[in-house]
Point group: C2
Chain length 639, copies 2
């Protein structure tokens, strides 16, 4: 008998002790981090509102109760009964019954009403029909990504349950080693921005935190080849944790599956969907630019299938000796500061991922409140000694000034923006500015995946700031549905027409001008001195965006289709830096300053060499903690 099976025996005995005799238990098994209890008496189980909580606390596991498939009422009958229980105003758009697990997925416009106060409506459903309800939100703006992910997961349910059971047994295996150490190996994003990847390891467990590419250097992935990275086989990794979906953190997650990885990916639900969107676009862009696709779309589907979504604040077992908790990072939708509790009180490590310390229009500021954290791995994008950003109010005034001036000249305002994150922030600024009359009403064209990314934002309003969430729930108030936002879907002809037409604003990907439709916009607008190019986010070294910022005035346009021209850059180039999704130097310092307790050690990563070194030295002098500016491919041992 394996150690997991032995341990399950003990768990079963405990459950038998706790659960009243009238409730019969037919099976107990692990699915991913959760312990799933199958019962022939789901109604009785649900009637004791406190039973699951008591079991969870006793067993120190996350628990899900499912009806034994034999006791379910027929789906048709259940459908009617469920419709009776859920109030009309919940706006149910779909009911999907899964006889294998006894789950019914309820898609509704207002999930809160389906859930009811403290889950009362859900319990009522279970009591009536036996089925276990799971609630998802109907996207307020139709999102093909969300639709595709949901359909795909529906279709792959059986595979997914096998995966989850395997992962569950892996998580709950007995630790093998008597040794105690915690190590971090830096695989990427040290003294550079891009290709974020770390291995967090203990004698029992190896966790890959992020697995990104480096914009402008897609082929440099040395960490894939060294043994302590992935060179010893992707199967040597127990789990992947993804802090957020930007490609410099996520691009090579699907590649892991091509290398044989078949373990879990832990991230928030929006990160999963955005990773799907961005990685598919990434391989699409590669083939458009004539590069070899690093993997095909099948691998993206594998990644999605292996994702175990986690909500902010939920403490989740991801290995015998590691608990993971994700917290809002304030950077983009679903971005997470990832906190690892190792051993039984042995050590705690937090990876900031990318963070924004202060509140923005889209998100609350990053969480930095952990019961314990000995080592912090901190991003340093704006860690340089002079990297203080303009206050967002001033930045907004500045952006509006540029827009007004460009409008006066009859020019077009072109904003390179990441599809995910800054685009939505700028949209909110523009919507308010036009509503208040600070800038003239004019069309705002959204090109690249910005529209789709926006739709995904509206699917997960729980991840947004309160007031924004409330506005999204009210269709008439949803700022993303404002009339001036136009989705560019007509290709290059449409772009040329827009560029030659009336004054307008264009938000287009890619955010660092490394490809995508922005190139096409620059081809049309570059030579026009009346138009403005406005950078609102960080431009990494080696990207065309950075070079234009630095004054390069001949720029290459045209992609893999055989053209390779240059246009001269006559546009008015402006940088409005207060909109970054990244904390500035002050924000990074504040993030550390307000931690309680403060970490003993800080690794400053994810920044240019000088930024990481400045931040490392600054934190050392300010807080007298041990700080480092590691290089890639180093290993630090803690304990």
């Amino acid at each position: 008998m394996s150690t997991v099976d032995k341990q399950l025996e003990t768990v079963r005995a405990t459950i038998a002790d706790e659960v009243p005799n009238r409730i019969s238990i037919s099976d107990v098994k692990y699915e991913g981090p959760e312990l799933v209890i199958y019962t022939r008496d789901p109604r009785e189980f649900a009637s004791d509102g406190d039973l699951i909580r008591r079991l969870a606390s006793k067993l120190r596991k996350r628990i899900t109760v499912r009806p034994d498939p034999e006791v379910l009422s027929p789906a048709d009958q259940a459908r009617e009964e469920i419709s009776d229980v859920i109030p009309e105003e919940a706006g149910v758009t779909d009911l999907d019954f899964h006889a294998d697990t006894g789950e019914v997925v309820i898609e509704a416009q207002k999930p809160g009403i389906v859930i009811g106060r403290h889950g009362a409506t859900l319990r009522e459903i279970t009591q009536k029909v036996g089925w276990t309800p799971e609630v998802v939100r109907t996207p307020p703006i139709e999102s093909s990504t969300v639709q595709n992910v949901r359909n795909f997961l529906k279709q792959e349910r059986e595979d997914r349950r096998d995966i989850l059971e395997r992962v569950g047994r892996q998580i709950h295996r007995e630790p093998m080693s008597d040794d105690e150490w915690v190590r971090i190996t830096t695989l990427g994003c040290c003294r550079e921005v891009g290709r974020a990847a770390f291995i967090l390891s203990t004698p029992d467990t190896r966790i890959l935190v992020d697995c990104g590419d480096k914009p402008g250097a897609e082929d440099e992935m040395p960490y894939l080849h060294i043994p302590e990275g992935l060179g010893s086989g992707a199967t040597s990794i127990d789990a992947v944790v993804l802090t957020h979906a930007h490609l410099d953190h996520s691009a090579f997650v699907p590649l892991l599956f091509e290398h044989g990885y078949d373990g879990p990916i832990y991230c928030t639900e929006p990160t999963r969907d955005l990773m799907g969107l961005l990685t598919l676009d990434y391989i699409d862009a590669a083939s458009k630019e004539g590069r070899t696709q690093p993997y095909d779309s099948e691998m993206v589907r594998e990644a999605i299938k292996h994702t175990v979504p986690i909500e902010y604040g939920d403490v989740t077992d991801i290995a015998p000796d590691v608990k993971l908790t994700l917290h809002n990072a304030g950077h983009i939708l679903g971005s997470a500061v990832s906190h690892f509790h190792i051993g039984d009180g042995l050590y705690n490590v937090a990876f900031s991922g990318d963070i924004h310390y202060d509140d923005t229009r889209l998100f609350d500021g990053a969480v930095n409140d952990f019961p314990r954290v000995e080592t912090l791995v901190l991003e340093s994008t704006y860690g340089g000694r002079n990297d203080y950003q303009t206050d967002q109010g001033d930045s907004e005034r500045d952006l509006k000034r540029v827009i007004n001036e460009t409008y006066e000249r009859d020019g077009t305002v072109l904003v390179p923006a990441f599809a995910v994150g800054r685009s939505q922030e700028i949209m909110l600024v523009l919507e308010e500015a036009m509503r208040n009359g600070d800038i003239p009403e004019m069309p705002v064209y959204l090109d690249g995946m910005i529209w789709e990314a926006t739709a995904i934002h509206t699917t997960y309003p729980e991840y947004l700031r309160d007031d924004l969430r409330d506005r999204i729930f009210d269709e008439d108030e949803n700022p993303f549905l404002a009339d001036q936002f136009e989705h560019v879907d007509g290709g290059d002809d449409e772009r040329e027409a827009v560029a030659d037409g009336e004054p307008c604003i264009v938000l287009s990907t890619s955010g660092m001008v490394t490809g995508g439709p922005i190139t096409s916009w620059l081809e049309h607008l570059g030579p026009d001195p009346d138009s403005s190019l406005v950078f609102v986010d960080y431009q990494a070294q080696g990207t065309l965006g950075r070079r234009i910022q630095n004054g390069q005035n001949e720029i290459p346009v045209g992609g893999g289709s055989g053209r390779s021209n240059t246009v001269s850059m006559e546009m008015n180039v402006e940088t409005v830096d207060g909109f970054s999704g990244h904390a500035d130097r002050q924000g990074l310092e504040n993030f550390v300053r307000t931690m309680n307790p403060r970490p003993e050690k800080v690794l400053c990563v994810h920044g240019d060499e000088s930024a990481t070194q400045d931040l490392s030295s600054g934190l050392y002098h300010e807080f007298n903690m041990r700080t480092f500016a590691p290089q890639n491919l180093e290993t630090f041992r803690f304990l």
Copy 2:
């Protein structure tokens, strides 16, 4: 065509250019680090004394010339002719002909006479018989180890040639990576003494430097399991370099072969033989103590078969981007400071291994003279701020005092000693002291493998100090053959008889009282207050030797045979520290001080936590260099 084959094509063309037309070349191939040229005209080749040197300099390779097997004179005829050429006083004891390579191995008491001035006699042999002579020394004291190793290698010649050809192709492959970095991963012996093991890696190459165990903690080998150690498979390692044969550096080398490694081991010839001796004893001790043997003797033979011996000072290609040079380390027979030249002038790392800075009776002091060295990995056994050893002259007087006092009491002097190293040093001291009348003539019993280890020393006098070498060549002067040295080979009864008998001196393994016959000696002598236990070498933490030094007076005796008694420790316990094979704090500082150029960085390893930290801090303050006291399982990146 592989890159190696392409490169061999070029090499062949160069040889064809350089070699006169009258000499025909029938094959050119790699065998280990050497380029082997087969010629149908070996006599002509040998007649141009400078040709090989010119080729070596042109090709930047080490070159060996062999006759095409077809042109060899018959072995019987060659035997006679060779006997005619070599002067009688060379003392030839064996001639062994290998038709496959055209080599004849000449075993002689005086190899120098076989070689002749600048190799003249060897060239004469080749000219006469076509065969290529290789000369080995007849051990002045019969050594079963040397005999066994030589017989084994003779028997495995064909396998060995295959191995060498494979290794040769591996060494001379084209580098694959454009990246440039040098990393050191600390696998063991950091903030501890024992289990020395490092990985030196570049994008193309991974070299394991040492692979030892930790006395008293034989089962703790975490570095075997982590991917950047051996966890990704021993086959991910390109080469093993062994600084010396002590078990804390060599014990797990044979285990590599059980894990699938089949690459080369680079070390000196005496290190190879001593490794064979010590590892066989190691697994033997394990089974005697009832522990599982970590590997069987077959793996020791594999290790010997895969050893590529290197002489001090020879610059040897061991990878496409790495050249290795071994230098005398002064610690034990064949011990080597290992210098790695990486890339074409890119970076240089030296691993001190264990060193003795000053000359001893046995060896010259450690070499620290390298054209370049940016990083030094330095042992710190006596690196503590107060770890100054007594001058050896004073130590010798002290030892003689203890011997005389014990003799006066009719007691026995028991010296726990490593079979290899300190035993021979103490033997030289005792031999001289008796010869000079400083201590009474009395028997000196050598127990454990000390006798055999001494025989190996006399086989490789080139590795000893000049004056000692000369004495060994003269049988009447060979100090190791002095009458008072008695080999204990009668087991426990003999020990009991000796212990109960007349005053005498006993040198016995193990040196740290972690097993071996010393236990038996302590059982007999421990309760005798008239006898003395004299520590002459370093006692690591966790060993019984250290505990006795610290005053423990109940000691366990009896091994795996079911007995497990204790005896009370009534002996006079003395520590005479000037005989250590390790440099003391002053010696370590001097080693660094007299380097020219000095390294930029020093990693202080192979010492207790306080010793490594003291030395690290001391070197930093003294020489203003970057110094570290790493933990195990860290990775440092240079460049």
